[in-house]
């Protein structure tokens, strides 16, 4: 199982029946593949649908039905079309139960940076700032470090996405919960030790006495 699958399978456990969930493009979108059959949720695509379904079969694409990455999708029974005002009204008004987003950096305050690297291409924040500022729960799903450099850091050096403490960080090595007191190591990834996590993390971590192993779906 590769790092991304570990992360997606762990994040999938956070998704509960009746939630409205927004999955970012890339790694976060993999979470949908690992939901238990008895979990009945609606996925939102912020470009305008609640009740996102799987990819349509070849030749059955609808040019007016795509996800926020621009890929063709389907809609499940009971889906709703919404315009951008309603879509972001849901996100900003606290109606979105959970967003799962990738991360470039998360810091000891629990603040996330995931939308730009100064000096590189400027893609724009799209809906990321709204999602992090507005969702009830913000889950950062990312590989623990980037080319050997820690991504969980004392203080973000990249521009923040929002000055809001995210709810949970899930990597292939650990589940870390940002709290008022700091970053708490909650679970260890398959085969990972506390020392492995510490070595790959430049932020201070609060280490409880008991740290269970990550359970994956």
């Amino acid at each position: 199982m590769d790092a991304k699958e570990i992360i997606a399978r762990r994040v999938a456990r956070e998704v509960k029946t009746d939630m409205l969930v927004n999955l970012g493009i890339g790694l976060p979108s993999l979470v949908a593949n690992f939901l238990p059959a008895d979990v009945d949720v609606f996925f939102q695509a912020e470009n305008g649908v609640i009740g996102l379904g799987s990819r349509p079969p070849e030749g059955m694409e609808d040019p007016d039905l795509t996800d926020a990455g621009g890929s063709f999708v389907t809609a499940v029974p009971g889906a709703a079309s919404i315009d951008s005002a309603m879509s972001f009204g849901l996100i900003r008004g606290g109606h979105l139960d959970m967003t799962v987003l990738g991360g470039l950096q998360v810091d000891e305050r629990g603040f996330l940076a995931n939308w730009m690297v100064p000096g590189k291409m400027v893609p724009g924040m799209g809906g990321a700032m709204d999602l992090v500022a507005g969702a009830k729960r913000v889950i950062v799903a990312m590989v623990h470090s980037a080319k050997g450099k820690p991504k969980i850091v004392p203080e973000c050096t990249l521009p923040l996405t929002a000055a809001r403490r995210v709810s949970l960080i899930v990597t292939e090595l650990a589940v870390i919960e940002p709290t008022e007191a700091g970053l708490v190591l909650r679970e260890l990834g398959p085969g990972a030790s506390v020392e492995d996590v510490r070595a790959a993390t430049s932020a201070s971590l609060i280490i409880p006495e008991q740290i269970p192993a990550m359970e994956l779906v």
Partner: protein, 217 residues
């Protein structure tokens, strides 16, 4: 999925003293069965936010007559002499709000905005005690968001995911109120199977609705 509740079961969910957003315009588009159940139950002390109190014996007027309303935030009470009488007798506190400001304040509460900046009410008694801001040379009143503990709304039809459609002038405040309360109870004329409402016809996505009243008999 939502299970459809009887009106008295739904009414029983609402504690004394709750803030209720109630849809309707002169009784059109009000949740009449739910109101009847509240009157039958007799628990009150409610703050009611609604466009109006209709007339005695009609819609929200029944809650006023039954003495269940302690405070009222509305745009118009002129057609209900009982509301007037209770206001004069000091039995009910009334905050009058311009209709467009009222709906925007509720929307702001629902979509997470910090307030509404409007020209409506400037130079009138509505301005009293409120902050006036000058933005690019124009003056605007700062009006605060409104949220409810419960939204009690009426709809033309629902499905068992809670998706709602509305009818003609029975839309009024209902779609906006559905966004602005901790718990949303919807009273549809009919309930359809999931999938029977086309995505483009949904005006309130089911994720906003917590409880459905059973269909009319």
């Amino acid at each position: 999925m939502k299970t459809a509740k009887k009106a008295d079961e739904a009414a029983a969910l609402i504690p004394e003293g709750s803030v209720l957003l109630i849809g309707g315009f002169m009784g059109v588009g009000s949740p009449h069965r739910l109101i009847d159940a509240l009157v039958a139950r007799g628990v009150g002390g409610f703050t009611v936010v609604a466009n109006d109190t209709a007339m005695p014996g009609c819609g929200i007027g029944k809650l006023v007559t039954a003495g269940l309303v302690t405070k009222l935030i509305a745009s118009h009470i002129g057609l209900n002499p009982e509301t007037q009488a209770k206001l004069i007798a000091g039995e009910i506190e009334v905050e009058l709000v311009p209709q467009g400001t009222l709906v925007e304040r509720i929307r702001a509460g629902g979509v997470g905005l910090g307030g509404v900046l409007t020209a409506t009410g400037l130079g009138t008694p509505v301005e009293d005690g409120k902050q006036v801001m000058e933005i690019d040379g124009k003056r605007f009143l700062l009006e605060k968001p409104i949220r409810g503990d419960f939204a009690l709304i009426a709809a033309k039809s629902a499905d068992y995911k809670g998706n709602l459609e509305y009818s003609l002038t029975a839309h009024n405040f209902n779609p906006i109120m559905a966004m602005a309360a901790d718990t949303v109870i919807a009273e549809p004329h009919s309930i359809l199977p999931v999938g029977a409402i086309p995505p483009d016809a949904v005006k309130t996505p089911g994720v906003l609705v917590d409880h459905l009243l059973e269909r009319e008999h």
